[in-house]
């Protein structure tokens, strides 16, 4: 019976039980010690597992990702256009996320006392951060660019906070692999391809303990924040509500402003028709929270109901499902800043740009991996020096937000495919007229 439940349902159950169990522990302080000693380690192991696989995942998947993308863009003009739009929409979505979280400040909904509490809990060394900020001030404006280039690639891979250097290296290797003669590059590509498959599988295995890990993380978080004062737990939940609303608001802006604008400016398809035609795919994305699983339906809707030619759809959509994740990158921007706010860290503009870069680039490689959202968030957090254990904070609403962001991802892919098709004159308007409401 339990085995049959899909993983995401189990995670959801883990979260709820974790919340409930945490609340119970707060009422019975004798349970708290036991929870911290024997249940929290499960959560810690889960987070460590995600961290363990982050560097190899980025390295292998990005090398393969770049090697494959380059291949396509060399073949067609369409490839370059598609990539450009993907990158632009991703940057727009992250920017929206960062702006809205800066305005709403959901992390500041936590009372001051709880935030200091959290700071101690995750050992965020405030003094160290100030030092760091001082250093940043005295550096030249191009220093972030300099910092992207690793001094020693193995040293860079030993530190989770040097992820951007690893990303840089992986992209260079990927490009270099395209430029060497095929027969020479083939064994290397085959190796990284196999390695990538293995690592993706490893992520899957780590996700198997996610329900228990999430349970442990949330239960211990509740205890550590609230101590013996249940009202603090409610305050935490209140802040999480604000955080969720911020993410949802950002996604709504994408849905009702950015995509319609994109369609209006660069395509011939009516915005209302677009949403009508895409509705089933969006709903499926919402319930499965996997763009890959929804892909067949997305393709069918885009081709048969929006009139995009098969050539364009079969190229843009699978690519989009793996590398274009507007919702996910928006979510990452908001989450990283929220955690920073909750832990009382002030992120400089430079750090925020780093989040944009890391999130965008990491998305190129890792998007197709189930559970990659969490690994990527770990990557983003470590890149700007926020303790990754802070993820526990946002575990609770993660599942629901995952459903919504998949919907955005799918809409984004579809919108891009329509725009590309319009520019290539590959749209059949008759199809829209006849089948859009089917």
């Amino acid at each position: 019976m339990i085995k049959r439940l899909p993983l995401h349902t189990k995670i959801l159950i883990g979260m709820t039980l974790g919340l409930v169990f945490g609340m119970i522990c707060i009422q019975f302080p004798s349970l708290s010690g036991f929870t911290i000693d024997y249940i929290k380690p499960i959560g810690t192991i889960f987070i460590r597992g995600l961290k363990m696989i982050a560097v190899p995942l980025v390295l292998a998947s990005l090398i393969i990702g770049v090697a494959n993308i380059g291949d396509i863009s060399k073949l067609t003009r369409m490839g370059g256009k598609t990539l450009l739009i993907f990158i632009v929409t991703t940057i727009i979505s992250i920017t929206i996320g960062l702006s809205i979280v800066a305005i709403v400040k959901p992390g500041h909904k936590l009372p001051e006392e709880t935030r200091t509490n959290l700071m101690e809990l995750y050992d965020t060394n405030a003094a160290g951060k100030i030092d760091f900020a001082e250093q940043v001030k005295s550096r030249g404006p191009l220093q972030p660019l300099v910092d992207m280039v690793p001094d020693n690639i193995f040293l860079a891979t030993t530190s989770n906070s040097a992820m951007l250097q690893v990303v840089f290296f992986a992209i260079i290797i990927g490009i270099a692999l395209l430029k060497v003669p095929k027969e020479k590059g083939a064994p290397v590509i085959a190796f990284f391809d196999g390695l990538n498959d293995v690592i993706v599988k490893v992520v899957e295995f780590i996700m198997l303990i996610a329900p228990y890990g999430v349970f442990g993380l949330i239960a211990s978080l509740m205890i550590e924040i609230a101590g013996d004062d249940p009202s603090k737990a409610w305050e935490l939940l209140y802040a999480l509500l604000w955080y969720s609303l911020t993410v949802i608001a950002g996604m709504l802006i994408m849905m009702v402003a950015i995509y319609p604008l994109l369609l209006k400016m660069f395509s011939t398809v009516n915005v209302l028709d677009f949403f009508k035609g895409m509705r089933p795919a969006m709903l499926l994305g919402f319930s499965t929270s996997s763009s890959t699983a929804t892909l067949p339906v997305t393709m069918e809707r885009v081709e048969k109901h929006l009139g995009v030619s098969e050539e364009v759809a079969s190229f843009v959509l699978p690519l989009g499902a793996t590398i274009n994740m507007n919702g996910t990158s928006l979510y990452q921007g908001v989450s990283a800043i929220f955690i920073a706010q909750a832990l009382g860290l002030d992120l400089s503009l430079g750090s925020q740009l780093m989040i944009v870069l890391t999130a965008t680039l990491a998305a190129v490689g890792t998007a197709g991996v189930p559970g990659a959202g969490l690994v990527m968030l770990v990557i983003v957090l470590e890149a700007v020096g926020i303790p990754a254990a802070g993820i526990a904070l946002i575990m609770a609403p993660e599942r629901i937000l995952d459903m919504i962001r998949t919907m955005i991802n799918i809409s984004g892919d579809a919108a891009v495919s329509v725009v590309v098709a319009s520019s290539e004159n590959a749209i059949d308007k008759e199809v829209i007229k006849e089948h859009v409401n089917d």
């Binding site: 024997y38 380690p41 192991i45 961290k51 363990m52 190899p56 196999g194 293995v198 490893v202």
Partner: protein, 470 residues
């Protein structure tokens, strides 16, 4: 010369090294030995250590990815851990037997022991720890009053000794404070490349390698073929490197031993003094270690595997054993242990590559035997009678400590502090055994390595995969 088998050559190197050290110290050449010969010993240890991590990583992945189904791995793992626990318990039992029969601590002058006892009780009072384990109080006994003032002016430790001790105590404190599950948490790497870059995080590398290997088995063959091929090839390269390094082993062992002995003392007389000072303790421990290596392991193997040859086993294992003795590091010896076990004892690689690295980090028969003997020796030295029950507590703590010690560098003495504290003895006592520890460490490592080899043979036998080699 060329015809001599490798282990004979290593023995020659070892003996020559010791002779050289004695000769050089009596001729006043010690500085020359330390400056110009000892570095080669260090080079040797470094060569072996840099091979160890990649070899562990690749050989485990290679070994496991060669398994046909992963479910056998769970059985293999359970068996391995079980076997290591049993041998550790047996080794501790041997230690307890030796130390209780020989009573090395009671060979010391009676009045000195009474003084020791009194200063221990003063220490207990100072730390509000109540009565001693045996419930007696020498302090309140008027018969011993005359020794009291002398006991209070007990020997002072030198500045360096104290600092050294404080460092170790701090580490022991950290080990004790964390959650009981911390050692499981510590097995999961935070960044796998970081774990690879640190020899002390070997257990994390093992964890990753097992995980990675299992994943390879579960994926379709054609997708992972390039990865398997790569791992296999790199693994062979590293094994070959071990071969090449071992060709020069006799010379390196000579340099290593010459350096070690030269550093211990300036004149041969001093060397003997060190050993005489703690003679009864060292002899008891050595007796226990010898018994484990030459009686207990062979007996286990004889009983559980039918076609066991006593001389054959030691002939095949001797390169690894001599190496363990001269490097006193089971991790550095690991590459050679693997080769000896595979080529000499006929354990298939898929088993040895799994069992031995785990053993090198987790299984510490010699170390835990040492814990038991040393702690009880110290108690005897301080006139403290421990019941069998209390000794069993020590056994339990010591064996658990030896498992947890895997992640702690120079674990032996730190874990001994934990053990001493857990039974209410003064942890500062480890200073008593500091002087001879370097030499005894060499002997313990031989036991650890032999134990690993024994267990890997047993596991191979129980899987029916032991192929006899002549």
């Amino acid at each position: 010369m060329k015809k001599l088998p490798l282990h004979t050559k290593i023995v020659i190197g070892l003996v020559l090294g010791v002779i050289w050290a004695f000769a050089s110290s009596s001729l006043g050449w010690n500085e020359f030995t330390i400056n110009w010969i000892d570095p080669f010993g260090t080079i040797f240890i470094r060569l072996l250590k840099f091979i160890a991590v990649p070899l562990v990583l690749f050989s485990i992945i290679n070994g496991i990815s060669g398994l046909s189904d992963v479910s056998s791995l769970g059985r293999l793992g359970a068996k391995t851990i079980f076997a290591y626990m049993i041998t550790t318990f047996l080794a501790i039992g041997v230690g307890l037997l030796f130390v209780n029969v020989i009573k090395p601590g009671s060979h010391v002058d009676e009045t000195q022991r009474i003084k020791n006892r009194l200063s221990y009780e003063i220490w207990l009072q100072d730390n509000n720890m109540g009565l001693s384990q045996d419930g007696k109080s020498f302090l309140s006994d008027p018969e011993y009053n005359k020794f009291l003032t002398e006991a209070q002016s007990e020997r002072e430790m030198s500045e360096q000794e104290r600092k050294n001790l404080e460092d170790k105590m701090a580490k022991a404190e950290e080990t004790k404070e964390s959650s009981p599950l911390q050692f499981v948490v510590d097995m999961v790497p935070e960044n796998i490349i970081l774990s690879i870059s640190n020899n002390q995080l070997m257990l994390q590398v093992i964890f990753f390698a097992i995980f990675f290997g299992v994943t390879i088995v579960l994926l379709p063959k054609e997708t992972v073929a390039p990865v398997v091929g790569f791992v296999d090839a790199v693994n062979s390269v590293f094994l070959k490197m071990v071969d090449i390094v071992m060709k020069a082993a006799p010379f390196f062992v000579f340099a290593l031993l010459a350096g070690v002995v030269a550093k211990m003392a300036d004149t041969p007389a001093e060397v003997f003094e060190i050993f005489l000072g703690l003679g009864s303790y060292s002899l008891t421990l050595l007796g226990g270690l010898f018994f484990v290596v030459f009686v207990m392991y062979p007996l286990i193997l004889k009983i559980l595997t039918k076609d066991f040859s006593y001389t054959g086993f030691f002939k095949k294992m001797s390169p690894a054993q001599f190496l363990a003795f001269s490097t006193s590091s089971s991790a550095a010896t690991l590459p050679v242990t693997m080769e000896c076990v595979e080529k000499g004892l006929g354990v298939p690689r898929k088993i040895s590559s799994f069992v031995l690295p785990i053993g090198a980090t987790v299984n510490m028969d010699g170390t835990s035997l040492h814990q038991a003997v040393a702690v009880i020796f110290m108690a005897q030295l301080h006139f403290i009678d421990l019941t069998i029950g209390q000794q069993l507590t020590i056994v339990l703590t010591a064996s658990l400590a030896s498992i947890g010690a895997a992640a702690v560098p120079s674990a032996g003495l730190i874990m001994m502090i934990v053990v001493l504290q857990s039974v209410g003895l003064n942890p500062a006592w480890v200073a008593i055994i500091f002087p001879v520890d370097r030499f005894l460490d060499m002997c313990r490592t031989v036991v650890n390595v032999t134990g690993d080899a024994t267990v890997s043979t047993l596991i191979a036998k129980s899987e029916g995969e032991l192929t006899p080699v002549d």
